[in-house]
Amino acid sequence: MHLKYESTLREPLVNGVKDYHKVTEDIISPIEAKPGKLWYVGFFISLTLLAFGAFSVTWEVYYGTGVWNLNKTVGWGWDITNFVWWVGIGHAGTLISAILLLFRQGWRTGVNRAAEAMTIFAVMCAGQFPIFHMGRVWMAFFVLPYPNTRGPLWVNFNSPLLWDVFAISTYFTVSLLFWYTGLIPDFATVRDRAKTKLRKLLYGVASFGWTGSTKHWQRHESLSLVLAGLSTPLVLSVHTIVSFDFATSVIPGWHTTIFPPYFVAGAIFSGFAMVNTLLIITRKILHLEDYITIGHLDAMNRVIVLTGSIVGCAYLTELFMAWYSGSQYEFAEFYKYRAAGPLGWSYWIMMTCNVITPQVFWFRKMRRSVMVSFIMSIIVNIGMWFERFVIICTSLYRDYLPSSWVYYRPAWPEVGFYLGTFGLFFTCYFLFAKYFPVIAVAEIKHVLKTSGQNFKEKMTPYEEQDAEKFAHDQAHAH
């Protein structure tokens, strides 16, 4: 009898009758099969978007940032909005894989691989925006502190924009390392059961020669734990630093100390929404409903309603402080140009999508409905895009000088650029879903006997037993 197990009061993390081999079969066999029609359609659409994005960006690089509708007042528009939006989405992966690992949340095992992949792709998309916003993108390497012939004149280490360079690149690197070290054993699984020579060769290279030695597993566990420990403050620091881009300036609506926690909560909120969007589709298409269960969706929806409410509190705090601070600029910003004014509609979209609609998740039935979860995940993503748009554009379109007040709407290359990052994101995700184990196989096997449905059911007679009788039986078991 396997004595370490989870109470049957907790719902199983893996449904159905499974053993170790079945887990491998379920998760690895989609890699070995030809992708379905839907995959090709989706992949083709993504590639088209990516191509259109590349065209828009080329256009922008060739003619300069003037082709965007940015102007003297609104210097940050769709580009930085999209940057913050994608980085925010990129927060859920590391949160799931790192923070939930430290909190010993078993349900993370079903979703962490895909969520981490999503993080990496989202950060890749995010990085494009500040880079191409530079205009002379061929000089992007100027942000690196390297010995140069200009003095050497160094970068400004006091600038939050430079902190961003370090934060985003560190975040990307560490997430990638964390993700890949987790993938190595699973690639070895694909390699060892591969039937074709090409697959054996490629997964052999990708698995780095992993054999599953006990000593290696011991080191692997230690590595994962420390990387989780490092990533936990890292994930919080990244969006904190992104919020510093705004908070350290003196623009009304930006210059607030609430920004770091508010941004981090918002990032987790939007990230979990994107995880839901992707996983609801993935579990359906790859038939992984047994591994990404309704319980998983429920858990993520709980995080969504929690972080959504934190974000809601932050919105109200902002409104309160705009009045309470006595600063007429803050007051005008929030009450005249955000909640009202020509761009006021974006504020109310944000409020509706982020604060009001997620409240449906207080109801268990809603949290456990796949359809509601999917629709809500889209709504939250829209809402969080508008949050960044509201923060950036409504603060900029009404500045201290009424003569430079403008309205802002994007030009086609800005929209094209944004669509292009969707292309990049989904192209990567489609490739990932086809060629990578979308669920951490080894980790599922690790929790299978404690929280798999068929293993839990075996424990029912013991659970129903009288405690004293159980203790008595066990004392004589050996």
């Binding site: 009898m1 396997h2 053993d19 170790y20 081999h21 502190p145 003095g151 160094w154 400004n156 280490f157 006091n158 939050p160 430079l162 902190w163 370090f166 934060a167 560190t170 690197t173 560490v174 390392l177 070290t181 190595i184 054993p185 070895a188 699984t189 390699r191 060892d192 059961r193 090409l198 054996k200 060769l201 997964y203 052999g204 290279v205 990708a206 780095f208 020669g209 992993w210 054999t211 599953g212 030695s213 006990t214 000593k215 597993w217 011991q218 080191r219 692997h220 566990e221 230690s222 590595l223 420390v226 990387l227 490092l230 990533s231 890292l234 620091s237 510093f244 080894a442 980790e443 690790h446």
Partner: protein, 197 residues
């Protein structure tokens, strides 16, 4: 690198594996390694492996990052090119914290992953002997080294008595070599003269 002879036993369940490891060790056989499809907690202790010090390495890499970031930024702003930025001090410690933190994490993570790969001898193109194709799937594979003192047949029957399902003898390379998993490297094993020759 040298090829050695092994008796290999496969177990279906970790619950059988644990007592088997204990018995094999008590009988005095030398367990070369146990290969498992997932980390089996406590197996390292059962096999008498020492704790890994990888986290200590991570800590050292981390402080290296901290020191690098702090000393470099201080040197740039106070010595190499003291620049007046809005009348702020030349050594603004609070403003250095974000980059210092990021570099600490970066150095630690990269250093640890490289150390992990070095210690476990993992790299693209590296090949090792796989005792059983399902050791990364659902089998727990124990490889016992056949030394001059032990007898392969004896180990086989002992493994069978402790619950191993599939038992065979293999001659295998203990280390790694550059190779492709789609090709059999027979040459490697033949380079060394067999033990019994």
């Amino acid at each position: 690198m040298a090829a050695k002879n092994f008796v290999v036993g496969c177990f279906d369940d970790e619950a059988v594996l644990f007592p088997a490891v204990k018995k094999v060790r008590a009988a005095g056989y030398k367990i070369h390694d146990v290969y498992t499809p997932f980390p089996v907690h406590g197996l390292d202790h059962a096999m008498g492996l020492r704790e890994t010090s990888l986290h200590t390495a991570g800590f050292i890499y981390g402080i290296t990052g901290t020191t690098t970031a702090l000393s470099f930024m201080s040197w740039v702003f106070t010595t190499d090119w003291p620049l007046n930025i809005g009348g702020k001090p030349h050594f603004p410690l609070p403003a250095f914290i974000p980059i210092t933190f990021e570099l600490t994490v970066l150095f630690s993570a990269i250093g640890m992953v490289y150390t992990f790969c070095y210690l476990c001898q993992l790299a693209p193109g590296v090949k090792k002997h796989v005792f059983h194709p399902r050791q990364t799937d659902d089998k727990f594979v124990m490889a016992i080294e056949v030394t001059g003192k032990s007898n392969a047949e004896e180990i086989k029957s002992f493994l069978a008595s402790v619950g191993a399902q599939e038992i065979n003898e293999q001659r295998a390379e203990t280390g790694w070599w550059y190779g492709r998993f789609d090709k059999d490297d027979t040459l490697i094993n033949e380079r060394v003269t067999p033990l019994n020759a």
